[in-house]
């Protein structure tokens, strides 16, 4: 294999990039879904995932008065919590502001994000960070280089992450383009008035969209938390660092903000470029990965504002 000749120094950031990219892709698909239906950037998208991850963690550990449940059940409950957070956001905030300007809606989602982060911080505190356990662990990734050669990372979770990401993408693709509900989401996103005229319940579709976005955020959250390890409140948004929210936004813009496959491809691109930048940018430049990705975002917006697969800016 060609990659093997580069050894771990090339293979590790590549595989890690694909692993991260799947998570960023999921966040990006959630962002694109909401952008298509409401024409806003949902700054609370990644925080839906933090909520799910913390709920799952509460059942796994268990924390507080939560009962201890099997890992799989806890993850499912976490996903339910994420979807519920998305639904509640739609019902309590977005629908009330249906006639407000998009700038107001944008501020509202930022407010939801701050609310969720603060609620997590109040309940959990930031002093003793909780470690999210992994269901599968190993020591070294040996596909692309000698094990233990300095460039290694814990595997097990990586394969799960990539497989789940690709399965989810496939399932979403089928669901969107083959089922009645999926097609009505696409219809409403293209023209809400016309969709209502042909008998689609626009309110129910809006709720469905936000619930689905919450679910996607939750999937990203419970995949990201175990490999991040110790999770502070707001870890999906990223306080003082690029979190999956920011990576997801860059991915969604690269993908064109309106294309679901584009968002996932953008996620993979961001993940791979980010991990290579982290490895190869000189350490004398602090935050090399962030500088490279921010430059990438600005370049895409300046040169090709409609993204690689989008139809409009």
């Amino acid at each position: 294999m060609l990659l093997a000749s580069f050894g771990g120094s090339f293979g590790v950031p590549l595989v890690a990039g694909i692993r991260d990219g799947c998570i960023y892709g999921m966040v990006a698909i959630g962002l694109v879904l909401i952008y298509k239906s409401n024409r806003i950037f949902n700054f609370a998208q990644a925080e839906f995932g933090s909520v799910g991850a913390f709920i799952a963690l509460a059942f796994i550990k268990p924390l507080g008065g939560f009962p201890k449940l099997p890992y799989a059940v806890a993850l499912i409950l976490g996903l339910v919590a994420s979807a519920g957070t998305g639904l509640l956001t739609e019902r309590l905030v977005i629908r009330r502001l249906f006639n407000a300007s998009r700038a107001v809606l944008l501020v509202a989602t930022a407010g939801v994000a701050l609310f969720l982060i603060s609620a997590e911080a109040v309940i959990l505190g930031i002093q003793d960070l909780r470690v999210f356990p992994r269901v599968a662990t190993g020591t070294h990734y040996a596909f692309f280089g000698p094990p233990g050669g300095g460039d290694s990372f814990t595997y097990g979770w990586t394969e799960i992450d990539i497989v789940v990401g690709l399965l989810l993408l496939g399932a979403l693709g089928v669901w969107f383009f083959r089922t009645r509900w999926g097609k009505s989401i696409l219809a409403v996103s293209q023209d809400a008035t016309a969709a209502r005229a042909v008998g689609i319940n626009v309110n129910r579709v809006s709720a469905l969209t936000w619930g689905l976005a919450g679910l996607l955020g939750g999937a990203a959250g419970i995949l990201y938390a175990p490999y991040k390890g110790a999770v502070p409140p707001g870890f999906m948004t990223g306080i003082g660092e690029f979190g999956p929210l920011v990576f997801g936004f860059i991915a969604a813009v690269i993908g064109g903000m309106t294309s679901l496959p584009g968002a996932f491809a953008g996620g993979l691109a961001v993940g791979i470029i980010g991990d290579f930048a982290e490895k190869y940018m000189p350490t004398s430049v602090p935050g090399g990965e962030q500088v490279v990705l921010a430059t990438l975002l600005l370049l895409v917006l300046l040169v090709r504002p409609s993204g690689l697969l989008g139809r409009e800016a």
């Binding site: 806003i40 950037f41 700054f43 905030v93 009330r96 502001l97 006639n99 407000a100 300007s101 998009r102 700038a103 107001v104 944008l106 501020v107 509202a108 930022a110 407010g111 939801v112 994000a113 701050l114 609310f115 982060i117 603060s118 609620a119 911080a121 109040v122 309940i123 959990l124 505190g125 930031i126 707001g234 948004t237 990223g238 306080i239 003082g240 660092e241 690029f242 920011v246 936004f249 860059i250 813009v253 430049v285 602090p286 935050g287 090399g288 962030q290 500088v291 990705l293 921010a294 975002l297 600005l298 917006l301 300046l302 504002p305 800016a313």
Partner: protein, 359 residues
């Protein structure tokens, strides 16, 4: 603005003038008393003054040209960084540091603005979000500028060592900013901003240089944020990049919207309210008693993060119930103090202000 200086006319009676004069004196006394009461309240008041500057800065972008910035912590931090660096590494005097802080904020804002001119709509929110966090993780971590992990010290001049004197400097800067802001909204540029906010294409059709005025708005906003950052560095007597996180940017946007973007008085009120929430609430005895109702862990967290929770709730309530923010409530009082008659809540301007005129 709903009322202008033109409404001050000869119909004001002597008691009317006296009452309004008394109200202004009381306001000035209140502002001064907050800083001169003791060293702790002076520290809160300094934070409030800095927040007011940031609020005015964000108002130029959010309220005047109807764009969105989620990266103002980056502009503020740039000002703070260069003020601290020049003061400590090169020993430049305080006043020069503040000027350079403003220039630094302005330069960064122009760089962001150049990109912003190319993208339409709300994409600016994304650009500023990413640039703000990138500044924090890269520029604010450069060891030679920021003194490594410990942070770059920014020592106040001996004359301003006490909080109350430093507060007076902050108040002077705020008054200067308010004066410039008033002159701005009354000028051709101010009217151009409003036209751009309503509709860029229509504004361009009327011969307004949309690109130029947008850049001007960015520069002004950046300068104000940079100066605020410089004051912040000297108030905490050091620069530490960790202080300029994304949460701060969120707080700034929230306080501007809760205050009422587009309204100078509203933004000032909102900024003061949020500064009080962030600094004073955690030390307020009633709030402390309230947190004692919870287990120790929870009460400590509540003291630390409760203010953010309250801020987020305030924002959501404001947007749902009262989209023009605190400006709507204080409008009659503001109008009266400017020499007009006292009118109850007047909703005829409801469409003109708020963070965006268009649905």
């Amino acid at each position: 603005m709903a009322t202008s200086a033109a409404t001050i006319d000869s119909r004001l009676t002597a008691p009317g003038v006296a009452a309004r004069g008394g109200a202004w004196v009381a306001l000035a006394a209140g502002v001064l008393a907050a800083g001169l009461f003791n060293s702790d309240t002076a520290a809160y008041a300094i934070t409030a003054a800095i927040y007011v500057l940031i609020g005015l800065s964000l108002n130029v972008i959010l309220g005047y040209i109807g764009q969105m910035s989620l990266g103002h912590q980056g502009l503020m931090g740039s000002g703070a960084l260069f003020a601290a660096y020049l003061s400590t590494a090169h020993g430049l005097p305080f006043a020069v540091d503040l000027v350079v802080a403003g220039v630094a904020g302005g330069v960064v804002a122009v760089l962001v603005g150049v990109v912003a001119l190319r993208v339409r709509g709300l994409y600016l929110a994304l650009v500023t979000l990413v640039v703000g966090i990138t500044l924090q993780t890269s520029l604010f971590e450069v060891p030679s500028l920021t003194g490594g992990g410990a942070g770059e010290p920014a020592n106040r001049p001996t004359l301003l060592l006490s909080n109350d004197r430093f507060y007076l400097v902050c108040v002077a800067v705020v008054i200067g900013a308010l004066y410039l802001d008033t002159r701005l909204t009354g000028s051709k540029a101010g009217r151009a901003f409003l036209a751009i906010k309503e509709d860029e294409r229509v504004a361009a059709a009327f011969g307004i240089n949309v690109v130029g005025y947008k850049l001007l708005a960015f520069v002004l906003s950046g300068i104000l944020a940079g100066v605020a950052g410089g004051l912040y560095a000297f108030s905490s007597e050091q620069f530490n990049g960790n202080n300029f996180s994304f949460l701060l940017a969120l707080t700034f946007v929230l306080m501007t919207v809760v205050g009422g973007a587009g309204s100078r008085a509203g933004v000032v009120a909102g900024s003061v309210l949020f500064a009080v929430l962030q600094t004073f609430l955690a030390n307020f005895f009633l709030f402390k008693d309230f947190t004692q109702l919870f287990p120790t862990n929870l009460s400590n967290n509540l003291l630390q993060f409760g203010p953010n929770l309250v801020a987020a709730l305030l924002l959501l309530i404001t947007l749902a119930v009262n989209p023009r923010g605190m400006a709507q409530q204080i409008e009659p009082v503001v109008a009266w103090m400017r020499g007009g008659p006292y009118r109850g809540a007047d909703r005829s301007h409801a469409i003109r202000e708020g963070i965006s005129g268009r649905p």
